[in-house]
Subunit: 116 residues, 2 copies
Amino acid sequence: MKITHYNEILPVTMNNDLVKDVAGRVLIGQEEGAPNFCMRFFEMGPGGYTPKHTHDWEHEVFVHQGNGEVFVDAKWHPLSPGSAIFVPPNVVHQFKNTSEKIFTFICLVPSKAPEL
Amino acid sequence: MKITHYNEILPVTMNNDLVKDVAGRVLIGQEEGAPNFCMRFFEMGPGGYTPKHTHDWEHEVFVHQGNGEVFVDAKWHPLSPGSAIFVPPNVVHQFKNTSEKIFTFICLVPSKAPEL
């Protein structure tokens, strides 16, 4: 059993050629003994984005705060708090913050995927 | 691929001897072809609660809005927006709304579990 809050976990910040102003945290994963899937929490600053990439595992995403967009099927789609996104395996995708505030979402992956 | 918002999905309301004022929705599951786990969204009215029960699959929960509590390990623990809860298989648990506003959270289960 684990009860936590995302702000109790130190974030890992990501800034390179492919990722801008993203902070990630593993909320529930191998360390807790999660047997099937892993819950990560991401914060993205204004103008921030995740890599445009693909991999052979799925994402299940839920938007917690702020406004952004997701790129799938060759176009951008608006997201707001309460949006849910299923990205199947092997589908190109990217997330970006389109607002002036922090954009946060959780993103779950199966246990076979890297946790962060 | 699916992009939705929880308010675009008709809720299933639950009210009986074990559950009070709970509305559930499947956001991502078998219908979308999710291969490993299922994302559900729950709203709970003031005074509402889920059943106190146990089952042989895990929960990964993230609190979206409002304030409530979870019962695990024989006591109640406070929850607020941004709280994450891992309930391992075969652990007794219950959620309740302790506020005067709606309490909402997502709760993920592996594909072998009932979706709702």
